[in-house]
């Protein structure tokens, strides 16, 4: 390998490193540990998270060192413009794969609403299941499941009330919060461009705070759903689609908030330059993506 430090026309290829194989080990331990936990819970009612936490700990430590190393290499001038372009391509297509992950769940939601529920209600010449559950009446949200003994339907749904009552409708405020946070993260970017360190920290800090606020309200909503609405994961297809879509979105908000928090800490250390802030930019693209998913959720899960 030629020396990438001396010659910016050379694409930096790092020498051997222990991070990737340890990430593979950590995720292997974590996922098989989680599987083991789930299976023992199902069989005996109790399980242990020890292996899961071991894997998670390895993952966290190794990723910390891995990212630190990449940041340090950038400061050493090893990352030329072409390498940074690879990062941009990489993050962009990673977000595309995330879009497709959510597409699977949105696809399930649309298929259920357009086909499954009407068919279960007897629509169409092939809908024989209506003979099995003649009581079932197709509606969305599904409040009474075909077999309501096995899957107890919810008492109330999360569907949006009429516009005049949105002032007390929590998902509406969550939408406002996330849309605002997309704007604040953009202002943080502008602050980087203007070399305004105080501005970066303020706007990024505000974004992280909005992310946390969203998560708190989302948790509040889940508690409300479980305790007062009788809306749970096992309350039939409405609960299933509701929780898997909002749940994975919430998981992504958690990740996004954490990533932005890391960028905030880096901003305190003065890491970002107007022409060299990929870590921040990747985090902000991810955040905008999570925001767009929420808008789709709000429209298709809550409003329509």
């Amino acid at each position: 390998m030629a020396n990438a430090k001396a010659d910016p026309s050379i694409y930096y290829v790092p020498h051997n490193g222990w991070y990737p194989v340890m990430v593979a080990l950590g995720s292997g331990l974590m996922l098989s540990g989680f599987g083991h936990y789930l299976n023992t819970v199902k069989a005996t009612g109790d399980g242990s998270f020890v292996q899961f936490y071991m894997g998670l700990a390895i993952l966290a430590v190794v990723l910390f060192f891995w990212f630190s190393k990449v940041i340090q290499e950038n400061f050493e001038g090893l990352a030329n413009a072409q390498l940074k372009k690879s990062y941009v391509w990489g993050m962009g297509w990673f977000i595309f794969s995330e879009v497709m992950f959510f597409a699977a769940f949105f696809g399930a939601l649309f298929y259920v609403r357009a086909f499954v529920v009407p068919w279960l209600g007897g629509e169409g010449d092939k809908a024989v299941s209506h003979l099995l559950w003649p009581e079932f009446s197709p509606e969305w949200p599904v409040m009474q499941n075909p077999d309501n003994q096995l899957f107890q339907g919810p008492a109330e749904s999360m569907a949006a009330p009429s516009l005049s009552q949105w002032g007390t409708y929590l998902p509406f405020w969550n939408t406002v919060i996330l849309l605002t946070s997309s704007v604040t993260v953009h202002f943080a970017h502008t602050a980087i461009k203007n070399k305004n360190r105080g501005g970066i920290i303020a706007w990024l800090g505000l974004t992280v705070a909005l992310g946390v606020l969203f998560l708190v309200l989302q948790a509040e909503e889940y508690i409300h759903a479980y305790n007062e609405l009788g809306l749970t994961l096992s309350s039939g297809i409405y609960g299933s689609t509701f929780f898997i879509l909002t749940g994975f979105h919430g998981f992504h908000v958690t990740m996004g908030t954490f990533i932005l928090l890391v960028q905030l800490l880096r901003a305190f250390k003065g890491h970002f330059q107007p022409d060299d802030c990929f870590g921040f930019e990747a985090a902000s693209w991810y955040w905008h993506f999570v925001d767009v998913v929420w808008v789709c959720l709000f429209i298709f899960v809550y409003v329509f």
């Binding site: 390998m1 030629a2 020396n3 050379i10 694409y11 290829v13 790092p14 020498h15 051997n16 490193g17 990737p20 194989v21 593979a24 080990l25 995720s27 292997g28 996922l31 098989s32 989680f34 599987g35 789930l38 299976n39 819970v41 891995w66 072409q82 690879s86 990062y87 391509w89 990489g90 297509w93 990673f94 595309f96 794969s97 995330e98 497709m100 992950f101 959510f102 597409a103 699977a104 769940f105 696809g107 399930a108 499954v116 529920v117 068919w119 279960l120 299941s129 499941n145 075909p146 096995l150 899957f151 749970t232 994961l233 096992s234 039939g236 297809i237 609960g239 299933s240 929780f243 898997i244």
Partner: protein, 534 residues
Amino acid sequence: MSEVVDSHGHDDHDHGPDKGLARWLFTTNHKDIGTLYLWFSFAMFLIGGVLALGIRAELFEPGRQFFEPEFFNQLTTNHGLIMVFGAIMPAFVGLANWLVPMMIGAPDMALPRMNNLSFWILPFAFGMIISTLFMEGGGPNFGWTFYAPLSTTYAPPSTTYFIFAVHMMGASSIMGSINIIATILNMRAPGMTLMQMPLFVWTWLITAYLLLAVMPVLAGVVTMMLFDIHFGTSFFNAAGGGDPVMFQHIFWFFGHPEVYIMILPAFGVVSQIIPTFARKPLFGYDSMVYAVASIAFLSFIVWAHHMFTVGLPLAGQLFFMYATMLIAIPTGVKVFNWTATMWKGAMTFETPMLFAIAFVILFTIGGFSGLMLAITPADYQYQETYFVVAHFHYVLVPGAAFSIIAAVYYWLPKWCGRMYDERLGKLHFWLSFIAVNVTFFPQHFSGLAGMPRRIPDYAVQFADFNMMSSIGAFAFGLSQVLFLYIVVQAIRAGKPAPARAWEGAHGLEWTLPSPLPYHTFTHPPKVTAAEMHS
């Protein structure tokens, strides 16, 4: 050669590979990682092959022979899973690792550390899959398509591990694809336009997009399975307002593009090999690129042709039938172009060429039986019979697997600087070619006569065809041991190969010396139209 082999300005620690195991665990070198992928996939090919031989041993004669029916189900399921996700896909990623950077004049893959991670996830994922076979309740037994509710309500406990293994191999594929896209789009030698890229690079670029689009959907569907099994949801349970048929829709939205993920890089390999041994440029390069892109696009709108008998509305059946038949057009363009490339060429028939020609012929047979299956009313008869088994094995074994074998023979002299034994190579080809047809051709007949697939026993009228299949399968399996011997022998003691191992070969990889230095194209090479064969 100073342009291609950098011999000065070294960092102290960057001379070459590390010693021993550390080299393979920690490597960021695309050649090392390509080698890891290829050996891993070969190991999986043997394990999946042993499972297949278990199936064929059980089916050698009517009546129960060796295995409980429950275990037979595990054999078919794990044979499919291991061959698809463990053998074919990683082998193509291995080829991409070895070849894409050299073909486009790049120093390595765009993101070398992530490249290592993509590989090392796989042993953990497949360790998990294989370990399920030894668990209480047995391994996955619901077929490689894992239809709900067999894979949810009635699934063995080991399904939980199966789900997480799928998540891991999906992550591996996604990272691999991102790497390949970034490499191809960002790291071509200056002056190499997209329409000058070797076809193998083109097919992998398009395959990577397919992977990025559908592997997350597979992750989504297994996640819904996980929730149905452990968290009380009812995605695939009609009693709670869900639908098992919805599983099939989401699965095949992944599954059909997945089929092309396993064949598009094969098209690329064959498009490299045939021009070399016909000593002519590829006929209709542009149309080849457009054909691959069309096939990739169509793969997203044909998924329900796997589900004609589950009770789709008539309009859906018609749409999916016609859309499926459309694929024959770009595929026909490709077969025509390969044939036209050979037309009036100065042909020689070295082992890679033999495998490539066999690919064109036998893949076409698989394509034609695919057209038969696309006809909805006819499919009512073929569904779940051995005709389907014959069809997809024709496109996957003498299709995908033959192209991988052809690629190994073709590029091995470049990879290790040594030539394989041509006589043994030809022997391997003829044994494989005959055995593969003896194995799978009779399955067309038993299938058309109504023999169901995934069944450990069968009616006596299918006995002769099954015996033939079993004999062919064992012969095919043994010939792959010969392949292993040929490759190892070439690596250890083959005759030194020249830089341009084949007289008619074009492309940047052949401008590099043999054996290859550990790092190549540290400085980008000059791209000439003559070398790109354009």
